[in-house]
Every structure is written in C-alpha cells, then in structure tokens.
C-alpha cells in the first residue's frame, strides 16, 4: 500500500515535472498545457467517456502484463497480442452468421484465444526450450503485425478498401454502448470485472498462489511441486488472452472494424500502467485511469494549447524508467 502510494507519487511527479519542462521548451505555460489536458479529459461527460475508453484500452493489456509479471515473466508482447485479438474479432465478426447474443461472446472469446495463442507460443518456447520470453514476445510483436498486414491486405482483404482493414462489423457484433451518444461500451465494465477477478485469483486461489510463488521464488516453487514450465505457459497464454480480449473490444466496441493500426502503443504503455499500479489489479484500475487521462487529454492539449501530444509519450516512457527499480530485482537476482 505504502509502496503503491509512493509509486503513484513518483509517477505524478515525473509527469508534471518533465511535462512542464517540455512545455516550457515549446514556449507554452505548463498551467495552460496541463489545464487544457485536464479539461480535455474530464471537462464534460462526453470527454469523461472518451477518457474511460482510453482507460479501458489500457486496462486490458496492463492486467495481462501484470499477470505475467506476477509469475516472474515479462510480457513485452501485449501490442502484438492486441493486434491478433483484434484481427480475429474483425474477421470473425464479419464472417460468423450469428445473432448478437451469441455473436458477441463468441467473437470476444475468439479474440482472447488468438491473443492467448500468441502469448502461449512464447510460453511454450520458454517452457520447452528455455527461450527468453522477453525477446520472444518482442519478436512476436512484429510478427503479429506483419501477419495481420498480410492477412488483411491479402486473403482477407476487404474488396476496394483503401487501407489495411476488414469490412465494417455488422451492428450485431458491436458491443452495446453504456452511455448514450458516446463510444463507451460494456467493454469498460468487462475490464473492471476482469480486474476484480484477477484480484481474487491472485489473493485467494491456489492458481494465483502458485503463480506468485513461481514468480517470487522459482526454485522454491519448483520444489514445492509447482511446474514452472506449465506456469510459464499458462501465465503467458493468459496474459496474451487478456491483451487479445482488449484488442477484440477495441474492434467490437470502438473501431467497428479491424485495422492494423488499432493500437497506438497500448501494449507498451500498459507496462507503465502495470508498474504504477504495482501489479495489483485494483490499483491498476486507478493507474489506467490516470494514463487514460493523459492519453485522452493529450489530444485536447494539442488542439487547445498547441502542445504536441507526444510530450505524453515522453513522460510515459520516463515513468517506466523511474519505476523500473521496483520489485523485479529481488526475483531476478535469486532466479
């Protein structure tokens, strides 16, 4: 708890400190800059809805990244898992002739399965061959993007489409909107529910216990009957599935089509979100909301205060560096 508060304070300090410096470089008063950012993120209900949309998009992969971290594994591949989850949802959402009540859960699950397959592949390589999961998931990111570009541009190309994207999803495959006249869909509720579930799983279940043991003391866990290979596979597959589910919700709830550019780097920013949330699912909700404010407010900041929104990317990266010293060191040294 204390650590979480401290991490959050560090993150806030980096965001405002470095953000202000960068704004001064662009000859913008930080008060105007951050004012526009906050106003753009939270100024009216429709803006809050957009912020929650960004929160949701970050929450899924952040939960996935956190799950892997808890098992002592670094899933740097959420970005690719989002792409494949989204692609699968995009293709199946168009292709499956099912009514909405069936279509939505099936397509969501298929998206999760695709992400899970991708994460699981890294997990399999680790469990079977001891392949380093960091490099594996990193490589699989690009492979996923190329695969999607190939499939969407080739075999599954929308006739006459101008971009690498699938045809629009039928309305039956759209996630129901929860605030009228906004884009905020039930995916937000789904993400919150998932966070709560993960919280319970980590805290209470045998599975969560074994996952944490494998992450915190692998050799002790192994001798306590925990199969490290299987844990690595399961953790990375689940981590990928959660990110893939996130990708599917972007396609079904936001874009209503799959486009290879569906994620502006959510999978990477999710690392910062997971770290700021100290890998605790319930704290991660708040971290995701914080980053959601940055992501969505940045657009208004650029429009209204003339600060390039890239400043937000810059500070997000710095938050990751600032918090890289947490927690993992112990475990990796003893591994």
């Amino acid at each position: 708890m204390q650590r979480t508060v401290r991490d959050a304070l560090i993150a806030v300090a980096v965001v405002f400190g470095v953000g202000s410096l960068a704004m001064l470089l662009a000859h913008v008063s930080p008060i105007n800059g951050f004012g526009a950012l906050l106003d753009g993120a939270l100024g009216n209900p429709s803006e809050v809805a957009e912020t929650l949309l960004q929160t949701t998009a970050l929450l899924f992969p952040a939960l996935g990244v956190a799950l892997a971290f808890r098992a002592g594994l670094f899933n740097i591949g959420a970005e690719g898992q989002i792409v494949l989850g989204g692609m699968t949802a995009g293709i199946l959402g168009v292709a499956l002739p099912l009514p909405g009540l069936l279509l939505i859960p099936i397509v969501l699950l298929a998206g999760a399965a695709a992400g899970g397959l991708w994460g699981g592949l890294a997990g399999f390589l680790k469990a079977r061959f001891g392949a380093n999961e960091v490099i594996a998931t990193l490589m699989l990111n690009t492979i996923a993007l190329l695969l999607a570009t190939y499939l969407i541009g080739g075999p599954f190309k929308q006739p006459g489409a101008g971009a690498a994207e699938t045809p629009p999803l039928p309305a039956a495959a759209w996630l129901p909107v929860i605030i009228p006249n906004t884009r905020l869909s039930i995916s937000f509720i789904l993400a919150l529910a998932l966070a709560a579930t993960l919280w319970y799983v980590f805290r209470r279940t045998v599975f969560g216990y074994e996952l944490r043991a494998a992450g915190d003391a692998p050799e002790a866990a192994r001798r306590a009957g925990i199969d490290l290979g299987r844990t690595a596979f399961t953790a990375l597959a689940l981590s990928g599935a959660i990110a893939g589910l996130g990708g599917a919700t972007i396609v079904m709830g936001v874009l209503h089509r799959f486009n290879t550019g569906l994620s502006p780097g959510y999978g990477f920013i999710a690392i910062a979100v997971a770290l700021v949330g100290n890998l605790e699912p319930l704290f991660i909700i708040f971290a995701a909301f914080g980053f959601g404010i940055l992501q969505s407010g940045a657009i208004a900041m650029q429009a209204e205060a003339n600060v390039p929104r890239d400043v937000v990317t810059l500070v997000e990266g710095l938050v990751i560096i600032a918090l890289a010293g947490r927690r993992f060191i112990v475990e990796r040294r003893t591994a």
Binding site: Y209, A224, G225
Partner: protein, 484 residues
Amino acid sequence: MAEPALRLRGICKRFGAVNAVDGVDLDVFAGEIHALVGENGAGKSTLAAIAYGAVRPDAGTIEAGGTVGLVHQHFQLIERLRVWENILLGREPRAGLRIDRVRARAIVRELSERHGLAVDPDALVETLPIGIKQRIELLRELVREPAVLLLDEPTAALAPSEIDAFFLNVKALAARGTAVLIVTHKLAEVMGYSARVTVMRSGKLVARFATADTSADAIARAMVGGEVPALAARAPTQLAPRLTVRDLRSGAGAGALGGVTFDVAAGEIVGIAGIEGNGQTLLADAIAGVVPYTGEIALDGRPLPSGMGPAQRLESGIRIIPQDRRHEALVLDWNIVDNVALGRQRDPPLRSGAVIDRAVAQRYAADVIERFDVRPPNPQAIAGALSGGNQQKIVVGRALAGTPRLVVAYQPTRGIDIGAATLVGSRLIEARNAGAAVLLISFELDEIFALADRVYVMYAGRFAAEFARSAIDRGRIGALMAGG
C-alpha cells in the same frame, strides 16, 4: 618478536542487528600459519573480508606489511573464461594494445610450477573439477605475491589427497615468509598445520592458543562456549521398510552420483556422511524429483520413476529440507503464513475447491511457530527479514508438519546457532520416533553421530562403507570420507 605482517586492532562490524565482528584484535606474523575457527556465523569470513579490505569495518584499524590476498569461501571464478584469463584478470601482460597471450600463459605456467599447483592455462574453467578450481582461486591470489594470504575454508571442497598437497604448498609459502591466516572448520587441519589458533564466537574473540599447547577438544569447547543442550531421547521404534534405493545414478563429472543402493526404514534416521561435492546434492535432488536419474527409488514398495516431479512426491509423503533455504525453500518476500503453506497448497483442508482456506493457513503457521519457537512469533513477519536460524525453523517445521513418510534433511542445521540446531535435531528424532523415515545428509560428522541410527560414508558418488550406530568408528569414517 618481529612486527606482524597483519595487525588488526579493535575491529567491529555490525550488519543490522547482528554484531558480526565485535572488538577483535589479531596479529599474523610472517612465516606463520594462523588458524581462525568458530561456529557458523561467528564472524570469521567477515573478519577476513575486513582484513582484505573488501568490507569496511565500523571501528578498528588494519595494518598490513604488503599486499593482502584472499581466497574466498565461495568460488569466485568466471566459468566461461580460460584459466589464464581468470588468474591474470586485472593484471594482464600487455603488448601494445593487446594482451600478450604468450607471456600470459608463460606467467601462469611458471607460477603453477613454482607452487606445485598444476593447471592447464588454456582450459575453460567450466570444464574443470572442483579441486582444480580451488587451485585457480589460490593461483589468482599468489600471482600478486601477497605478504599476507587469507584462506577462507579453502579445503571445504577438496579431496583428502588434494588437501595434503594443498597444505604442503601452504607450508612452503609460509616458509618463504608469507603470513597465512586460514579459516577452517576442520580441527584436524588446525592441529596438523597451524602454529597458533584464534577462536571466535558471536563476533567476539573468545580464545587464542599456541597449537602445540592445546588439544582439539579444548578448541571445540571454546568454540561452543559451554555444554551442548540435550537432544530429544530416541525411543525404540518398530522398523518397517520404507525407502528403497537401488543403483541410483545421476549427473556427470565431478559431484556425480555413481550408483548407490540403500534402504531407510520407517522409524530410522540414516546418516550420509561425506565431504561436500561427492554426490550428496544429486542424491537429495533425485529423491526430491528435481533431477533425472537412472536406477530405482521406491517408497513403501511403490516405484518413483525418474520423470515423476516434486508434486507427486510431496503427495506421497516425501518432504525435503533442501540445502539452500533462501532459494530452494522460502519465498523471502512472503510472510510466514504463506511460506508455511508452500508445498501443501493443493492439499485439503488447506485447499478448499480452487481457493486457499486462509483460516487453515493461519493455523498451520501458528503451529510451526509454536512447535519450533520461531522468533518473532508473528505469522505476518516476512521470511526474508528473519534470522537464518529462524528461517530454517520454518523450513524444518513445514517439512515435519503432519505425518511425513520420508524426510530428507540436507545439512539441516547449517549456519544456525547451537540452540536452534539442537531444537531442529530434536524434532527430527521425534519425527523418527513417530515412524517417519529420515535420511540425514551432512558434512558435519558431529551432526551425524548425534542423530543417525545408521551411517553410510559417501565418497566420489558412491558409498564407501556402512556403520550401525553401535559400531560407529570416528577415525575410520573420517578416513573413508577422505577416500582412504
């Protein structure tokens, strides 16, 4: 007398709450071999590190009449570099920009010949046996021509013949004027080679003898500082076959397990005596199911195939007290409750459905804390913050909880104080009395003699002999451990 080559005065060093070294004075003279002894954790390594300059003391002065060399208790070699690279690291001969490799090899060869420590300069360290690695450790210090040489348990991993050769070299060094301080647990070495001996206990200097004027017993009494508390009494038990091991082999090269056959009955403690590195680790790991092996292991007549992992073995009632509690037994970031649950997380009533029953976990932890006198008696205490002895109590308590069928205890009292060690020993005897089979693997003969009903002596991956408790012959076992 001449000026000492090494002169320590009033050395103090604290680590947190621990007084590792507490006001120690020590002189080592040129040409002298000075032994430093004491129980685990007495502060010997810390004192050596301070004399070497690797650890800064909180108080006290250090004067040395020249270079000080230190051979570490734990090997510090770079496995994937060559022998000459390890020995000359940081003082490579140069030819222009490059390392003069011809000269480097020559230096190492000359050094190795001069000290009678044969090594192949071009060999990769990772391919070498432990004895040779120890030579490299020594050569790495000798290349600096130290005036003072500190040796921290240099023979712990050496075969007896290697030990003899090693001391011949040390004596030759001393004869050439080097001051030698040697930390050791082997009183025979102290009696055989040292001129003087210093005894430490709990960071303090408690005795100093001229070796010629004392006896091993006197030194031992000084180390312990009084009488050892009494162990639990062994009750007569009904021996019933439990563990059978037939021609068990595992691993390759130095430290491999080369085919052992034995039984441990329920109600019996079988001790395996031997010097570290003679296959004991693989023996314990094979029974634990964490290394592949050939041959047979069976529990109550049920064979345990090589591929069977720790989970099923735990389920069949096998409990292991591993050698490295910090890495192999505990999750240091976790509290006592969660650690006590480790390994039992799938067994009801701890597991209820997919969930861990926290009330049961609390009860388990309270039980271990109570039976083993864990301090502090707080179930929420984080394992990593406990002292070594208290950590070990949790590991042993967890292993002995319930009714284990077989307990494999690997150095169960390593690095813990005599009180805690006695408690652990008593609990092992009680488990035996209650019908568990106990396999006790130890490098320390005293531990074996105190606890075991039967003893096997292990050497080079095999059993050299078997002794019943009534027929234990200290001298004979010592010789067999050394390969004699």
